[in-house]
Amino acid sequence: MRYIILLTWALFCLAPVLWFLSIGFRPRTEIITPQPIYFPTFSLDAWQMIWHDWPMASYLRNSVLAIIGSVVIDLVLAIPAAYSLARYSYRGRDDIGFYILSTRMMAPAIVAIPIFFLFRNLGLLDTVWALMLVFAAVNLSLVTWIIRSYMLDLPHEIEDAARTDGASDLSILVLIIIPVCAPGIITASVIAAIFAINEFFFTLLIASTQNSYTLSVALANFTGGSDGIIYNAIALVAFLAFAPVFLLVLAIQHHLSRGLTMGAVKG
């Protein structure tokens, strides 16, 4: 009984994925038909199409640049912040921590219009730099909180010992704390990268032309005028983005529940 329930859900998870994969490798004519076709003819039309009809290389480059750039910005800002929140006690600390957390709750739509005008005035609209800055802001709260949670676990003796040896606070952070917290930092980076790949709303507003499309938004423009939506190309790009995400998640599997709850689960 247990296995039947689990198997049913596994099927519900996988069947749409396999079917969508089959969409990616079938000709256009077999996608939107009066009767759905479950066993299509194999075709690489869409594969040719995504590389020839669209600047796929530029979409990929934009995605990679925006993601890596945003994660780097996040780490530079979040590691010191997390260290401060986890290892010091001072007035206002909890309020500062909560403020950082609360930005995670902000709906993108609330800040969308001012941010649109901000980047327009800075002349950054439709650039990958703007995407980088926005993705970093979106993920900063969760990166900070995840790393903070890992830093909270460390015993205080670590710093005390180093301090009696005369190490400065900054060198303690760089030489001792960061290496010990590497799993937390990696988990936070992976989750931030995934969220950046997924980001849709801001990218839609900021990337007004193909110049700065990422994969996530490029999908929504795979329409061929009167041809309608080009599903087989969409499917292939979906799997193109899925593959690295899948590998990253496999690598951090055991830290995933902790990362996704921003440190609340110590699983």
Binding site: P16, I31, Y88, Y90, V237, F242, S257
Partner: protein
Amino acid sequence: MNQSAISGNRVRRRPLWRRKLFPYLLVAPAVIYLMAITLYPGVYAIYQSLFFVRFNEWTFVGLENYRELFADADFWASLWNTFVIGGIALTIEFVVALSLAVLCYRDKFIRGWRIIFLVPMLFMPSAVSYIWKLAFNDGRVISDLLTRLGLIDARLDFLGNVDLARLSLIVTDVWQWTPFLFIIFVGALQGQDAEIEEAARLDGASWWSLFWNISLPIMRPIIAVALILRAIDITTMFASVFIITGGTPGGTTETISYFIYRMGFKTFNFGYASAASFVVLVATIIIAQLFVKRFFHSGKD
């Protein structure tokens, strides 16, 4: 400070104010960055909401945008839609995820394969929206499968009917994000003490009483955190609305995010959209202060 003091014991001799300032300096860059991207837009939205904006021409209208907004049936409808669609989706996701987690968390075999349960979560939301747009609508797969099972006679029009349009958004969300709750719950259940469980089982406790009396109380703060995070993301639901329904039929699937987007970037009524943003922002802050603060404090340490 002289040379010998620096080379001697730097930490001890450093002036008190500098030591007190240090943690603030560490956290400051992150806070300033976030303020630039949240506080500045907040102030900007309040200011802009007092104007009627047409291209680069701003006309001061006072609170007119707010008066209009509170009388706008579309605005209230979008809040209601967000609540209905999000509420149903979140309930289903919670029940399914918790049940699956309880069924498999001590099972070594399934634990090895649990990545399968995570697969939907690993696709981009825009891609997932197209999967279900094709399945429900353009490709008519769901209709076809239901017909084959003998459940319906004619093709269903998933965009033409209020309930069916909402259902397609709910299914899309449930499919993609149940794994999010599932993996968190599995992590929480695995984290609990296996020995206590074993002892209770030897005492003859049924799995239900084990779950109800031991697991659930331990998990309560984690459940709260997980549901809060999921609820935040559901209320900001956008990609699936944008791609699958576009708010049809008759605006009944328009969420609050889509409403603000439509007002700002389709009708270019920026002042009005800013007024709506500000109202939602105030609501968010109130909710955050009331609920989130409490649960995240109990969730730490």
